[in-house]
């Protein structure tokens, strides 16, 4: 039978075998593995066998269940995996004999809308109205229409100013680029600016651009007034009112 060992740092706290019955993990003392830590929910997660596979399922815990550092809702476990819950971890030892399937596992899981459904117009309106009431403040804060703009401060480009209207903006020599660079040895796509729900993100192309003097380490969100430099071209990112 597979074994689950609850550990705190290098210390073994408790060991249980996984049989046909699921192993409950949480702060409440009626769990098979009780984890005494405030960061752990009363009924935090459980491990059971489904169609011959060992599965860990997070029970909508506040701080999450992690398998090998990745947060999971439900994941298949294999020998040697480590489940992290709060500051504790649980070692998975699957070398024992394969257990019997815990067939009813899925049915008894917390109720969840698993089947895709579409809201009809009325439901949609109601749900969005509810949502709108909550979201009103954030909407108002963004009140005035602000147009993202790149102003050229220096370097060779085809225009002096660009309004970012598209979701994807490319800076480069290509005829498809929004901000077109001219001059020898300029890359076709030097850098990119992509629109996300929460703003505009500068990312690398064939070159790594700098923001306010420091080279970016990955996509970074541009703030009003940021100075972008790539391939000898300097651009000022601003929101025009």
């Amino acid at each position: 039978m597979p074994k689950l060992t609850l550990m705190f740092e290098e210390k073994t706290v408790k060991e249980v075998s996984l049989g046909a019955r699921p192993v409950g993990i949480g702060r409440s003392p009626d769990n098979d593995l009780t984890v005494d830590n405030l960061a752990v929910s009363n009924y935090h997660a459980r491990v059971y066998v489904d169609s011959g596979k060992m599965v860990v399922e997070d029970l909508k815990s506040l701080n999450g269940t992690f398998v090998n550092e990745m947060r999971v809702e439900r994941a298949t476990l294999k020998h040697g995996d480590s489940i992290h819950i709060g500051k504790h971890h649980i070692k998975v030892d699957a070398t024992g004999e394969a257990p019997v399937s815990y067939g009813s596992g899925r049915q008894t899981a917390t109720p969840k809308i698993n089947e895709t459904m579409v809201l009809d117009t009325k439901m949609r309106r109601e749900m969005l109205q509810q949502a709108a009431a909550l979201g009103e403040r954030t909407q108002l804060a963004a009140g005035r229409l602000r147009v993202p703009t790149l102003v050229v401060l220096g370097g060779k480009t085809d225009r002096k100013e660009y309004t970012l209207t598209s979701k994807l903006t490319v800076i480069g020599k290509s005829h498809l680029a929004t901000v077109r660079l001219s001059g020898w040895f300029k890359p076709k796509m030097a850098a990119q600016i992509n629109k996300h729900d929460d703003g505009y993100y500068l990312g690398a192309g064939d070159k790594v651009p700098s923001v306010n003097g420091s080279p970016i380490q990955g996509p970074v969100q541009l703030k009003d007034g940021d100075q972008v430099e790539v391939c000898g071209v300097r651009l000022n990112f601003i929101f025009r009112e």
């Binding site: 990745m70 298949t76 698993n114 089947e115 949502a131 979201g135 490319v170």
Partner: protein, 275 residues
């Protein structure tokens, strides 16, 4: 640009039937995926109808007037207009079928379709199937999900992390075939050499983190293998839903001299030059 693609669809680890559907129409560079819903086998009917109608309309085999809301916007390419119309037509077909067959009532489908003509990309979508672009290592979602949680994130009610764990992830605001008319999102983008497009159903994005998706797309040079790996990852992580993945690579055309050096005579002798 040379366009190379591959796709895969899988039932997943927990469902018994696959309601996803996809088609790659190579001569057109048209890529279509759909995720069906509705009890029994009706989700499958809906997604198959969605894909079929879009493909046929784009190929010019199916002509029909869609709903009044299918008015294309000035400035769009013919291709975008046709794709947009195709999505409306698919909505109409699925809706009419579900009205005519009692047991099909309530069936519907998502749609994500991409059509590439030279360096121009047209995309349309309805629902929570997605189109991503991987450009210079940056993965960008081109579509915005028509789901309740995505809308709540856009309105600042939920954070993206909260949305990932919401129980209402499967609640859609729009789908094909559930209403007589539907709002279709359409857009156009320019494609660059070495860009990678990904079309996928929620069975992938709910199981595999975007970072992992980007890494897999970058490390696998064969699009069919990349699709296979992504489906594998979704299944390894639980495979809670059907999963469908289409990967499209924009391969830079070699410059004249290099191309002549590498392929030279065979190319000119054998091929008929069709795309």
């Amino acid at each position: 640009m040379r366009i190379v693609s591959g796709g895969q669809s899988d039932v997943g680890q927990q469902r018994t039937n696959n309601e996803d559907c996809f088609r790659i129409v190579q001569p057109l560079n048209l890529f279509v995926i759909s995720d069906g819903m509705g009890g029994e086998a009706h989700g499958e009917i809906a997604s198959a109808m969605a894909v079929e109608t879009v493909v046929k309309t784009c190929m010019g085999e199916e002509t029909g007037t869609a709903a009044a809301s299918a008015e294309t916007q000035p400035g769009w390419s013919d291709q975008t207009g046709r794709l947009f119309n195709a999505a409306h037509l698919a909505n109409k077909k699925i809706y009419e079928s579900s009205q005519a067959n009692l047991q099909q009532q309530g069936m519907g489908a998502t749609l994500a379709a991409a059509w590439i003509n030279e360096e121009k990309l047209s995309i349309v979508h309805v629902g929570d199937s997605r189109v991503y672009l991987l450009r210079s290592g940056v993965l960008q979602q081109l579509t915005s999900d028509h789901s309740l949680v995505a809308e709540q994130v856009r309105r600042g009610i939920l954070t993206a992390a909260e949305a990932e764990h919401s129980e209402l992830q499967s609640v859609l605001l729009r789908a094909l075939g559930t209403q007589p008319e539907v709002e279709v999102d359409a857009e156009e983008h320019a494609l660059f050499p070495a860009d990678i497009l990904l079309l996928c159903t929620d069975g992938l994005t709910r199981m595999v983190a975007e970072q992992k998706i980007a890494g897999t797309l970058q490390s696998e040079s064969d699009p069919s293998k990349a699709a296979e790996k992504l489906v594998g990852l979704a299944n390894e992580n639980g495979g809670a839903d059907n999963v469908t993945v289409v990967v499209v690579h924009m391969e830079p055309k070699e410059s004249g001299f290099l191309s002549w050096l590498r392929h030279g005579a065979q190319k000119n002798a054998g091929k008929n030059g069709s795309a």
